[in-house]
Symmetry: C2
Subunit: 235 residues, 2 copies
DNA sequence: CGACAAAAAATTGTTGACAGTTTACCAAAA
DNA sequence: TTTTGGTAAACTGTCAACAATTTTTTGTCG
């Protein structure tokens, strides 16, 4: 529990000992810098500058960037360097659709294999979110929401599906398409959570698939609306 | 044609010009070597030996391996090196399940948006496979089968979903879990193809999802049975 | 003043070398 | 014969320097 939040962005000492190659450390560091906005989208990653800053040579930097490029977080242009990948509006929508499909598959598979204690656990999370939604405290609601999604990923029984889902979620998160939700949106979102739990509790895969897909699709349009509103208000 | 023999290590000049970074060329070369069995699963990739063989230094080799590790084709153990990743039976099954889900999503999305000319195109491919299945020539059937799957990936309208699907398919292909199918298996497989086409032609997403998922799931068990039979016959 | 060309600076791509770790080998003892 | 200890070889991890390319600056001409 407490460990999970601790490991979200960084890495624990045990992980550090396991893979103490600099390239690996650098990779996570660059990832962190992108997530936390120290690199802006489309910015070039200056190898020399980063090497000096992190006090390593360019070798590990390049290895880390190559890996991140393979993961899709970084784009590489020959002889010009590594660039922080920016998702266009269109691409972000595409990735969101893929995420919706995969989340739907996960909820479907959960419905095919869930146990009673797991149902209780999901209901507990939804109940907690209901209470937090009433207060409108996004900062408290959000971690539980994340845990709910992670829990479903774990319960679906397919490590690879979960891995792909979490990768897509991270990618969208990095690109700052996170919903900056307000009170009533939380309520709507959690109603969808409840629909998912009801479907999996009924062991109804089709219903679960539909509910899961709808949740992400709706979430995406909620996020988009919020982003548009934000853009208009700041102009 | 004549040029191809000139490129001993197997990349075309156009590829070389597009991304003339050595790391990229090396990456594709290693991938090819894994696919074609020049590296066996769990084998360590000797950086020095490979560097000498490809006539480059270890830098590009390490960058390429880092990327392949991020793609999941290679495993890295600190201070021991890069190893060709081997999927355990269990993991291969897990990946296959993920692949089934994603293929099912693709066929579902195809059903939601397919055009009449596209339907004709798919029917054409299935018809061709029917003829080739009669002859029992796997080597002729297989490319069309691949094209059928790729075509669906293209038609699903989500580049990312298609990318994930092709990645999973490649991973399984590399791990040699490809079906070594015989005549009647081809026939059964193509009957499933026809079911998929019928469902998408009817614009029935649910049916398409079910047909797509069944096709991969059945294909997986066909492959497993073939592998088991092969193992017993060789012991 | 602006366009163009050439030189300079900055940056990426690649290499070979060195340090630290792991593996292989071999001899000596139980 | 097997085990153990130590030494040497092989290999990975990292770095700094060099080559090739791109970008910026500078200088010149219309």
């Amino acid at each position: 529990m407490a460990n999970e939040t601790e490991n979200l962005s960084g890495f624990s000492p045990i992980d550090f000992l396991r893979t103490r190659s600099l390239a690996n450390v650098v990779q996570h560091e660059i990832e962190r810098m992108i997530v936390e906005g120290e690199f802006t989208p489309n910015e070039r990653i200056n190898e020399n500058a980063l090497a000096q800053q992190l006090k390593v040579s360019r070798g590990p930097i390049r290895e880390a960037c190559s890996a991140l490029a393979a993961l899709g977080l970084i784009q590489v242009i020959p002889n010009r360097g590594f660039f922080v990948r920016e998702l266009s509006e269109e691409e972000a929508l595409d990735v969101s659709e893929a995420r919706a499909c995969i989340f739907a598959c996960m909820t479907m598979k959960v419905a095919e294999r869930i146990t009673d204690p797991e149902i209780a656990r999901l209901r507990g999370l939804v109940d907690r979110m209901d209470e937090l939604a009433k207060t409108g405290e996004v900062s408290q609601y959000y971690p539980v929401n994340l845990e709910f999604h992670s829990e479903l990923a774990r319960m679906c029984g397919s490590a690879r599906l979960a891995q792909i889902y979490l990768g897509l979620a991270r990618e969208l998160h990095i690109q700052r398409y996170r919903a900056l939700a307000s009170g009533d949106v939380l309520d709507i979102s959690n109603r969808e959570h409840r629909a998912i739990v009801d479907a999996v509790a009924a062991r109804d895969p089709q219903q679960a698939f539909a509910a899961g897909r709808a949740h992400i699709v709706n979430g995406t349009s909620r996020t988009r609306r919020a982003a548009v509103a934000l853009r208009h208000s700041s102009d």
